[in-house]
């Protein structure tokens, strides 16, 4: 089973609006990362938040992490048509498993 589950599965908004995506995970983590995937392409890293951090910003992106609830959210402010993509959260649990576990993703459609 997958470590992370995104919500909603799909989101459609107008340009200029904010988009919020949520991610829940099951086990303790070292860090949580968000990736973006344009249709037919590979994934591109957006932002990493460590388990001892609660909030992080990068340009129009804001990520929060609540380890007590095992959840994270990604906020994209003032969205653009070019933000249309799938967004995935991924967790690095460390220990014996040195790999990222991905969620199922949120498909974001930004209407011009």
């Amino acid at each position: 089973s997958q470590q992370g589950e995104e919500d909603p599965q799909a989101l459609s908004i107008q340009e200029g609006e904010n988009a919020t995506m949520n991610c829940s995970y099951k086990t303790s983590i070292n860090n949580l990362q968000w990736y973006r995937q344009n249709s037919g392409r590979g994934l591109v890293h957006l932002i990493l938040i460590r388990s001892n951090e609660r909030e992080k910003h990068s340009g129009r992106l804001r990520v929060t992490l609540d380890t007590s609830k095992k959840s994270s959210s990604l906020l994209i402010t003032a969205s653009r048509a070019a933000d249309t993509a799938s967004y995935f959260c991924a967790t690095w649990t460390g220990g014996g498993r040195r790999a990222l576990t991905f969620g199922s993703g949120t498909r974001l459609q930004v209407q011009p």
Binding site: G4, Q33, F88, A90, A99, S104
Partner: protein
């Protein structure tokens, strides 16, 4: 820098055929990964490697084998392809430690495999 390069980009196989996907990275990364992505789903880890000569199983290793004979290359093999292995395969790599980019994956563009 080319980053992570996967070959081939597309391949059609018949059930029972074998093939190898090649992943090459030029970033001197220790860790390399093979994931598969099925429609509407996230990525599932097939196998990974934490260094030259070492490999480990991921979530869905059955039907696949891997080898890491050189640090920059990670090969994924299908010995007897099945229709259930129709998918898009992604290779990724990262470096470890605490510096910038540690544990952040750089992905290849993907290899689309269809098994008839």
């Amino acid at each position: 820098n080319a980053g992570v390069t996967q070959t081939p980009k597309f391949r059609v196989l018949k059930t029972g055929q074998s093939m190898t996907l090649l992943c090459a990275q030029d970033m001197n990364h220790e860790y390399m990964y093979w994931y598969r992505q099925d429609p509407g789903m996230g990525l599932r880890l097939i196998h990974y490697s934490v260094g030259e000569g070492t490999t480990a199983k991921g979530e869905v290793p059955d039907g696949y084998n891997v080898s890491r004979l050189k640090k920059q290359n990670f090969l994924l093999g299908l010995e007897s392809a099945a229709p259930s292995q129709t998918s898009v395969y992604f290779c990724a790599s990262t470096h470890t430690g605490t510096g910038t980019g540690a544990n952040v994956l750089t992905f290849g563009a993907g290899s689309r495999l269809t098994v008839l």
